[in-house]
């Protein structure tokens, strides 16, 4: 409980106001309350201030009973899914990821096998120099000897 020195409360109107308010609330320390009661007994203006403050509190008291319209908790809970669904969606994505990856992997393997078969078939038809493995992998039909025979530094004809 904060104590308000009576001299400071006397000179500073905001502190005096605070002291009067706490007097009405019953939250002054016993010594402070006794001191203020003695002051009130001899100061008519202070008594008036106290009465006015008391009446002001009573006047605005009805505003303390403000409530939201009925069904407020339901409205709050309905609003929550927009905060919770992000994590639910993320969870669903993580669960779906392995299955999606599996499907893509199977399709990729099938495509690769298909391309390999096509390359092998073309190689056999054309009777190329490269081995069957090189043909399946799609490597060009050029042997090392042929590649080394190319003169890469040969100047272009004008």
């Amino acid at each position: 409980m904060t104590h308000l020195p009576s001299d400071k409360a006397g000179t500073d109107p905001s502190r005096r106001h605070e002291q009067l308010l706490r007097f009405l609330e019953g939250s002054l320390a016993p010594q402070e309350e006794a001191r203020l009661s003695a002051q009130l007994a001899r100061d008519a203006q202070l008594q008036q201030e106290l009465r006015t403050l008391s009446t002001l509190r009573e006047t605005i008291e009805p505003a303390t009973g403000a409530t939201f319209d009925s069904g407020f908790p339901q409205r709050v809970m309905k609003r929550l899914p927009s905060a919770a669904s992000a994590s639910e969606t993320l969870g669903s994505f993580h669960e779906a990821l392995p299955w999606a990856f599996l499907r893509v992997a199977v399709v990729a393997l099938l495509l690769t096998a298909g391309l390999g078969a096509y390359n092998a078939g073309t190689h056999l038809q054309m009777d190329g120099e490269a081995s069957l493995v090189e043909a399946v992998l799609g490597l060009p039909d050029v042997s090392m000897e042929t590649a080394l025979a190319y003169d890469i530094f040969e100047a272009a004809d004008d």
Binding site: S14, H17, A63, T64, A66
Partner: protein, 200 residues
Amino acid sequence: MPSSDSVEGTPATGTSDEELLRRVRAGNRHAFRQLVERYEDRVAATIIGMLGPGADADDAGQETFVRLFERVDQFRGESTLGTYLTRIAINQALQVLRKRKRWTRRFFSREAHADELPHPTGDARDDLEREERKQLTYRALQALSEDHRSVVVLRLLQGYSTKETAEILDIPEGTVMSRLYRASNQLKEQLAPLLAPDTP
């Protein structure tokens, strides 16, 4: 009205805030709903005090709890859950106020709004129903600046101490006192016909 930190969050019957938060962190949304029901009124008092009743306040209230849900792992219990929620609620309300100011300055300025406040005549105090008095209070609050309004809502309407108000708003206690003093004077002017006839 908030009580001391040692008893807040532990209802007479039921589960403590700490246990509910633990369950929320484990994915239990029913536990979160219990927290919403437990703190709905406190958040409402803060938000509606700042914004007045309406769709904006309801939306800001919902967003307050959504923010808590999103940050539940970050809440470490340095303050009570009620204080933490109030802090979020104040920030949500201030965001709405700033948005209003940017787009509808002409119609929601403090000066324009203050002009619209009715001036009840002599017998208003006897004649006005509680609901009308509440509406007048809201409108008087809307006439305050954001800074003054927030201290009035927390200190006067919700009963937080000056120290707690300072912690929630992250301002010195002296600033809370001076803002509250100026805000009270302004409220006394706005609500003068409702106050005691011999109000100075």
